[in-house]
């Protein structure tokens, strides 16, 4: 259902911003695409993966963003147009090849999609990756809705190929996760095979080559600075005003809507910017003719603003320039906050916004609703077993967390992610904490995260003797971003089968002597084996690894629904329940809810039959009342 990306040319369909980006790349004739999943970028490669076979495009989930970048760059230097996509923080992981790619350039179109996350809806920071463009000498393109995103991405490939230079397309959550009408264009012949032509070592960055390429890069950059003035998505809307608003990327839509709501449309000139880096200087100068006052509207950092101020200074323009003094420097833009900035800019602060939020006299206190581990989530069972084992062993643990669904273990009832900074940070931080404290680091990482960035840290912990308990929560998928396969699953992005790589084999292979595999649905055995591993770490002062293996409950329950397999049914026996609240408060399963008398009740529509609550109930009050269908158990393995 809902497939629109491959509808015939000329039709218009409702596309998600990320689908539109994918379609733009298809219309540019890419032959190669790679990525590591990360919100809000994931659907770009998911979309391409679905149509890869049909169109003959090579698409892959790579183990991390650096590998994805290098793979796609490899394609682009062997004459195959390629795309690499990642979330903003993913570009930090790929920053090393990014910087080098500007020195060597590429042979055909190469577009790097960075999906930034203003407001941090699902990220650890709010970095503005347009800075990478300035830092690396790589042009940055932006768009303001899905329809334009498709066109800009397509254009970016031609621009990249023309200059033999990588191009960044910067999306944001609000673009990647908006839907809008997109008119589909023609799909050219796809070229997924090229050839790597060896010539004067231009791709071999040894110092004597790099010094020459640095000179070339600066020359190239001045040509690119000139050529962005020809980008059709940069344009001036001239209403003969003395006031100008410059809007970059998504800001343009908010500016248009805010002006309309304030009844100021067609009264203030607008400069729409699609290439914030490098700034289209000639267009800016043209837009500034006869202007007295400028407001720059852009999300997060004042990148265009700084450039406009520089241009005004260098050209002796006597202008009043506003930007981040009126426009928020943190969080997403909205029509409201842009409208407020415009009112300040027009010195109409006495006017109020045209929208009047409902006034409610009776205030009710309502609870927050943080995201939570799903009913039956194996991570919940694991955290419960871990906390039990730790309290029995009376150790002083440091829970070193990582990025994934299990990050939610930071919240009550478990509060077991004491430090959590980035992908791979769990074992990374343990490498310091193990040496500088008398506490026991417990590094908690997911399966996809293990492959992404944990293996070098793990090797370091063995090499440098950092006694740590390592828990690899192997739920057989990259769950948080929406169930992408990874090297441990034996499945590729296209659904094809491939080799399965087992974390326990890697752990044994690099020399960890205490390696165990547990099933978190088997509560007592899990507690017991975690205790043994803690003993080993504390007594032997060495590293122990436990692979906690049980497939993601969300994934399996969806599979069970599709195959019409019923899960086992559990029920709380009212007479035996003592209303202790362990199941709904300490275990915290959302499928268990307290009745007015405090006794527990299972919400049957939500329960997936994992049995863990029945195992941990001290009064044996939770019982299986109906077995699952034949074949249900097998779904999990």
């Amino acid at each position: 259902m809902f497939r629109g990306v491959l509808a015939p040319p000329g039709t218009h369909v409702l596309l998600l911003g990320n689908e539109a980006i994918a379609r733009g790349a298809i219309e540019a004739g890419i032959g190669f695409a790679a990525a590591y999943p990360g919100t809000p970028s994931t659907e770009i490669i998911e979309t391409l993966g679905r149509v890869a076979g049909k169109l003959g495009i090579y698409v892959e989930w790579s183990t991390n963003e650096k590998v994805a970048f290098e793979a796609a760059y490899g394609a682009a230097i062997s004459n195959v147009r390629s795309l690499v996509a990642m979330k903003h923080v993913g570009l930090n992981v790929a920053a090393d090849p990014l910087m080098s790619s500007a020195y060597t350039g590429v042979r055909v179109g190469f577009v790097i999609v960075s999906a930034d996350d203003p407001s941090m809806w699902s990220s650890q920071n709010e970095q503005d990756n347009r800075y990478y463009g300035l830092h690396a000498f790589i042009p940055v393109f932006e768009a303001y809705n899905p329809a334009e995103a498709k066109e800009v991405v397509k254009f970016a490939f031609d621009f990249s190929e023309k200059h033999k230079h990588p191009v960044i397309f910067r999306s944001t959550t609000r673009l990647s996760h908006s839907r809008g009408p997109v008119t589909l264009g023609e799909i050219p012949k796809i070229k997924s095979k090229g050839e790597y032509i060896k010539d004067a070592g231009e791709f071999t960055l040894i110092p004597q080559v790099s010094r020459k390429l640095r000179v070339k890069l600066l020359e190239k950059w001045s040509k690119i600075r000139e050529d962005v003035n020809n980008v059709p998505f940069n344009r001036i809307e001239d209403y003969g005003s003395k006031n100008l608003i410059i809007a970059s990327g998504m800001a343009y839509g908010y500016v248009k809507d805010a002006l309309k709501s304030l009844k100021l449309n067609d009264q203030i000139n607008i400069l729409k910017i699609a290439t914030p880096v490098p700034i289209p200087e000639k267009i800016v100068l043209k837009a500034l003719e006869n202007i007295e006052k400028v407001l720059i509207v852009e999300e997060i950092e004042p990148i265009v603003e700084n450039e406009v101020k520089r241009i005004a200074f260098e050209n002796n323009l006597n202008l009043e320039i506003h930007g981040k003094d009126y426009v928020p420097k943190r969080g997403e833009l909205t029509i409201d906050n842009v409208a407020n900035a415009i009112l300040k800019f027009m010195k109409k602060e006495n006017l109020s916004l045209p929208w009047k939020p409902l006034e409610i006299t009776r205030k009710i206190e309502i609870p927050r609703r943080p995201p939570t581990l799903c009913p039956g989530c194996p991570h919940r069972a694991m955290f419960y077993a871990l906390k039990k084992a730790v309290s029995k062993k009376k150790i002083n643990p440091i829970y070193c967390g990582d990025i994934g669904c299990y990050s939610l273990g930071a919240l009550p009832p478990f509060k077991a992610q004491d430090c959590l900074i980035e992908m791979g940070g769990s074992i990374g931080l343990a490498n310091g904490l193990a040496h500088t404290t008398n506490q026991t680091p417990i590094a908690i990482m997911g399966d996809s995260t293990f492959f992404h960035a944990c293996i070098p840290g793990l090797i370091n912990a063995i090499y440098n003797d950092a006694p740590t308990l390592v828990l690899v929560l192997d739920n057989r998928t990259t769950a948080m971003t929406g169930h992408q396969p990874h090297p441990g699953t034996g499945i590729k992005v296209t659904g094809e089968k491939t080799a399965i790589i087992y974390p326990e084999k890697i752990a044994e292979g690099i020399g960890i002597k205490h390696v165990d595999v547990i099933d978190p649905y088997n509560l007592n055995e899990s507690i017991d084996k975690i205790e043994k591993a803690i003993d080993y770490v504390v007594n032997q002062r060495k590293i122990a690894a436990i692979i906690v293996r049980r497939a993601c409950a969300l994934l399996i329950s969806a599979m069970a629904r599709r195959r019409e397999l019923r899960s086992p049914k559990y029920q709380v026996m009212t007479e035996e329940c003592k209303a202790c609240g362990i199941c709904y408060n300490l275990f915290g399963c959302p499928a268990i809810t307290p009745k007015p008398d405090g006794k527990a009740e299972i919400i049957q529509e939500q329960c997936i039959g994992c049995s863990v609550c029945a195992q941990l109930c001290p009064f044996n009050a939770i019982k299986m009342i109906e077995k699952g269908s034949k074949g249900w158990d097998e779904l999990w393995f």
Binding site: W121, E359, I364, M480, G482, N585, E605
Partner: protein, 204 residues
């Protein structure tokens, strides 16, 4: 692409809890609009919100240039859960229509204190908004598809006729038939119709 021009933008907020099918509801409206050459922009929160967290979808129909609705800018709030509806009332104005599913879903927080259903409904009722209260779960069960609370709520939205300039309930039914397998489509349409009939009984 041919767009109708200069119509008023209609702003819809759909809110509730991850897993209630809010995004499907919104996509059906979006696909229907695009099919009829009507411009629509919508935006949703993905990622961590899917894990039982709060979800808000903004839908703008008419001639929007940007996807987010300002506070006080929603013509309709479609609330699939009471706490989330109350949380998002800042999007409403005094003439908004609020269609609410009469149900509280407990956030999985240890020892969480919940408001009472009537308390929330009374607070909304004390304002001037036009309130439509629907038992979506009951209607969806009646249609033989308990998870289709979203379709019941979509039917209720169509009963308000706020979208009638642009799309009708039969346009929606056509799209449901196209995007779901036959058996599911039939049940979903039944749920949609129940929502429509129930909401029609409210004088707004």
């Amino acid at each position: 692409m041919v767009l109708k021009s200069d119509e008023k933008i209609i702003n819809l907020i759909v809110c509730g809890v991850g897993g209630q099918g809010l995004i499907t509801l919104a996509r059906i409206i979006g696909i229907t609009a695009v099919k009829k050459n009507i411009k629509v922009l919508m935006s949703e929160i993905h990622g961590m919100a899917q894990r039982g967290g709060q979800v808000v979808v903004h839908i703008r129909i008419g001639k929007p240039e940007s996807p987010l609705i300002p506070h006080g800018g929603a013509d309709v709030i479609i609330g699939l859960e009471l706490i989330e509806t109350y949380r998002n009332l800042e999007y409403a104005h005094s003439n908004s229509i609020i269609i609410v599913n009469n149900r509280i879903i407990r956030p999985a927080i240890p020892k969480v204190k919940l408001p009472r259903e009537e308390e929330i409904l009374e607070a909304i009722n004390a304002t001037n908004v036009k309130l439509i209260v629907i038992d979506a779960l009951e209607n969806a069960r009646k249609a033989g598809i308990p998870i289709a609370e979203n379709m019941v709520m979509l039917g209720a939205l169509m009963a308000t006729e706020i979208l009638q300039e642009y799309i009708t309930i039969s346009d929606i039914e056509e799209v449901i038939t196209e995007v779901f397998p036959e058996n599911l489509a039939r049940k979903n349409i039944k749920a949609l119709r129940f929502g429509y009939e129930t909401a029609k009984q409210f004088k707004i």
